[in-house]
């Protein structure tokens, strides 16, 4: 009989079980002889998760914020990225509908980064676009995933390129500026099950870019789950206004990664990096996103520290 007591990090579970001789017990039942293991790497990970030296606050703005299991891999990717940056990552869950009613600054003024995860459906999209405008203008680190990239493109088209009615074909059919549209090979599909662009596909990255700095290589493979893509008719308009199309499918037809100029860390991707993040091997984009959030937090704190003596001298 083994006791499975509640623990603060799931990565502590195997260590707690092993402290009670779990694998020995299993192997005894199966009559298997095996050498002992070296769990140092894992113990280090748990130590780093439990003893952070930095602390950042990241907002996640999405539709299903009330059920954390809907964002399991994203939460874990933050745990891995936090451990590699010795940072405690406090996640603030913001319902995109609340943003619509309360405004972005109410929820976003004290965060060190914003993540917009993947999702489906129109509900809450306007709130997401509003939070992206806020972090873009205030130079707060941003990572957009799937729908998060689509929202970033819509926001840029509307507020930088001046196309007020820009939107995604996913939500409205009769659009003046469909900056996001259905992929050509999705047009004939009627079944909903298993018909999206699914699984691992390669992408090529151009440098210099934040993305290249993160991966350290020009050829990557990431997991996808989508039907819609950046509309190539708008590539020129977006790039001439300062959006950079950093990652593309090897045939150049599909935009996989965007960044914007004149921002400390603004990266949005069509794929799902959270699915490939591992403990001890955080996903490069999550790792660098948290690193830039730590930077942002430190610069904010030092600005506040500079501001204080000035205040005192007036007093």
């Amino acid at each position: 009989m083994i006791e499975a007591i509640d623990v603060p990090t799931i990565y502590d579970v195997p260590l707690r079980l092993e402290a009670q001789g779990f694998s020995d017990l299993v192997l005894k039942h199966l009559a298997i002889d095996a050498p002992q293991h070296d769990l140092t790497e894992w113990e280090d990970l748990v130590y780093r998760i439990k003893n952070p030296t930095n602390r950042v606050k990241i907002a996640i703005c999405g539709k299903y914020v009330y059920l954390k299991d809907a964002y399991k891999s994203i939460i874990e990717a933050f745990a891995h990225a936090g451990a590699e940056n010795s940072a405690q990552v406090d996640l603030v869950w913001v319902s995109s509908e609340d943003i619509k009613h309360g405004g972005a600054d109410k929820f976003m003024h004290d965060v060190d980064g914003l993540l917009i995860p993947g999702g489906f459906g129109e509900r809450g999209v306007e709130g997401k676009i509003e939070t992206i405008r806020f972090v873009r203008e205030n130079k707060i680190p941003f990572l957009g995933i799937c729908l998060g990239m689509h929202c970033a493109v819509i926001e840029y088209a509307r507020n930088v390129c001046g196309l007020k009615d820009a939107h995604s074909y996913e939500f409205y059919r009769d659009l003046k500026y469909p900056v996001i549209h259905l992929m050509a090979d999705q047009e004939q599909i009627t079944d909903l099950g298993g018909t999206m662009r699914l699984g691992a596909y390669p992408a090529d990255i151009t440098k210099p870019s934040k993305t290249y700095d993160a991966y350290g290589e020009e050829k990557i493979s990431e997991r996808h789950r989508h039907r819609y893509e950046l509309n190539n008719d708008y590539r020129e308009m977006l790039t001439s206004s300062g959006m950079k199309l950093i990652g593309k499918s090897p045939d150049g037809k599909l935009v996989e990664i965007i960044e914007i100029e004149d921002h400390p860390w603004f990266v949005a991707v069509q794929f799902h990096p959270e699915l490939k993040s591992r403990p001890v091997k955080a996903h490069p984009l999550f790792r660098d996103f948290i690193a830039s959030a730590v930077e942002y937090n430190k610069s904010k704190t030092s600005k506040q520290a500079e501001a204080k003596p000035a205040k005192n001298s007036i007093a």
């Binding site: 009989m1 083994i2 499975a4 799931i10 195997p14 079980l17 092993e18 299993v26």
Partner: protein
Amino acid sequence: MSQETTKYVFITGGVVSALGKGITSASLAMLLKRRGLSVNIIKLDPYLNVDPGTMNPFQHGEVFVLDDGSETDLDLGHYERFLMDQSMCKDNNVTTGQIYHKIITRERRGDYLGATVQVIPHVTEEIKSSIKRLGTVNGHVDIIICEIGGTVGDIESLPFLEAIRQMALESGDNGSLFIHLTLVPYIEAAGELKTKPTQHSVKALREIGIQPQILMCRTVKELEESIRKKSVCSVRFRPGM
């Protein structure tokens, strides 16, 4: 180091769902792999959907996408994270929907040659071969960890439990192991941890012919010796096991 035959660890859950079976299974896979054994892991989901791809994340949680494009249960995410460099594929997540889909396709094709197609043996055999397949697709595997979704006592999971009961018999002495994960709730008013739900859930498992060899009790407080003894007696373990 490598074993000649593939052995099986079956992990079931009792009392309530969301006890952390996925993390327990992933933890065991990680520990065994780090002891030099080749390990694979499978999640059996009792629902009738072919995959969770079209299910509402609000009810079911995240859909975890694999390299091969399969849309799978979020537990597969735990498996990949705990096993670090071992990628999962479509064979690592099997649902009742997939099993029935295969059987009905075969039946329409006429493969059963006039036989009546039944839960036992046709469905159970298909479940067994889905589990066994993992021991052969990528070369030999020492241990297959098999996590049964849902809670013991559900109608949906019965064919899976019958299939693993048969597999345990067929795999002989020391060929398999049943781990049952339950909840030992703390009752605030009495200031006590309670073992009754565990006793009942083990009883339900034994009624269908499965005797768990390891009981794993999820709890908020450390278990006292008296609690351990009480649960252990109800399961008919040898003391000290």
